[in-house]
Symmetry: C2
Subunit: 187 residues, 2 copies
Amino acid sequence: MSEKLRDHMEKVISLTDQEFQLVFAHFTLENFKKNEFIFQQGDSVKYVYFIRSGLLKLVYIDDLGREHIVSFAMEDWWESDFSAFFNSTKASFSLKCLEPTTVFCLSLKGYTQLGIEIPQIERFFLQKSNAGFIASQQRILSLLSRNAKERYENLLKQYPTLPQRVSKTQLAAFLGVSRETLSRLYT
Amino acid sequence: MSEKLRDHMEKVISLTDQEFQLVFAHFTLENFKKNEFIFQQGDSVKYVYFIRSGLLKLVYIDDLGREHIVSFAMEDWWESDFSAFFNSTKASFSLKCLEPTTVFCLSLKGYTQLGIEIPQIERFFLQKSNAGFIASQQRILSLLSRNAKERYENLLKQYPTLPQRVSKTQLAAFLGVSRETLSRLYT
DNA sequence: CGCGCGATTGAGTAATTTCAAATCTAGTGG
DNA sequence: CCACTAGATTTGAAATTACTCAATCGCGCG
């Protein structure tokens, strides 16, 4: 049950059984159905989520009603509206399930407490945050320097299984092109 | 001299004189002239840099010779090719001075050592990394959802002094539009 | 069979790029 | 004080790319 989370953490830091017990005590488990929202724009964001199974999208709906996908999040990923979570402000993104999804939830209090009880956990989160930051910069670079087709091919290379799990409309919303343009890339 | 760095850190964590002494011992000081490279694509990246004064750009030159600015970095910011720095691989970006710049340099060894000597420093870096990650996601969203003019206006709002410090060509390379298009936005 | 959703196609329009030329500006030396 | 130059910016015009809106296609499922 909790093994996924433990294995995931042990890749970066080592924890005794007792320490992990302490860590895990701060998490709760939740299940969501396909198409269900975990939170929506404007909500408070009570948790950061570790995805045990399933697939999520972090999306922004703009004033014209267009959907933009800031991030996909799959098994073993951490996801949230981090700005809203850390600053206890309202979500500017929504987090929605593309598949039935099971997550472990960690509250801000739990997160803070964890840093005090198990200081190494901060090294773990630091490592995760760094990795996320680096990945974001790569994505920025891709948006700056590559055209739609190159971005699409790069996405396929990086996540070969993604197209089997989400519609092309979703991929287009992630790549920053219209679905029609994406459809026309290979003709 | 070192006060800038200390003030900067004390905004997140508190340090005794002695602790800060210990921290600061891991840094070295370097000066760079305008247009000088701190490192270039393909170089090893020995340090993460805290900018005491000046202005940098983190850039990527693509196969067609076009320059893309992943990030500007100014006073009190931390900058590097973090992927290359943490993984001891070769830089995929260059870091170049847009103004004469003074930086404090922290090596990977120093960084690691610091985490052992002054554990709170990891909370500090975690906070910085989170902030960087959140800012990057905002930038991604901006590239996905806004047109050139909106992105430009947003940049001006966020960094009102930047246009006085860098050419419009540079701003265009940051926004992801040609300099001609940027020039035509207000006509 | 027929509905519904996603994907594709067509046609016209809008935004952006490219390449070339003209203009502006700050700094230098006479 | 002026002429001159290098770099940055703007402008023009054509070509390309992507978008929008509408219509059609394809397919799995009740």
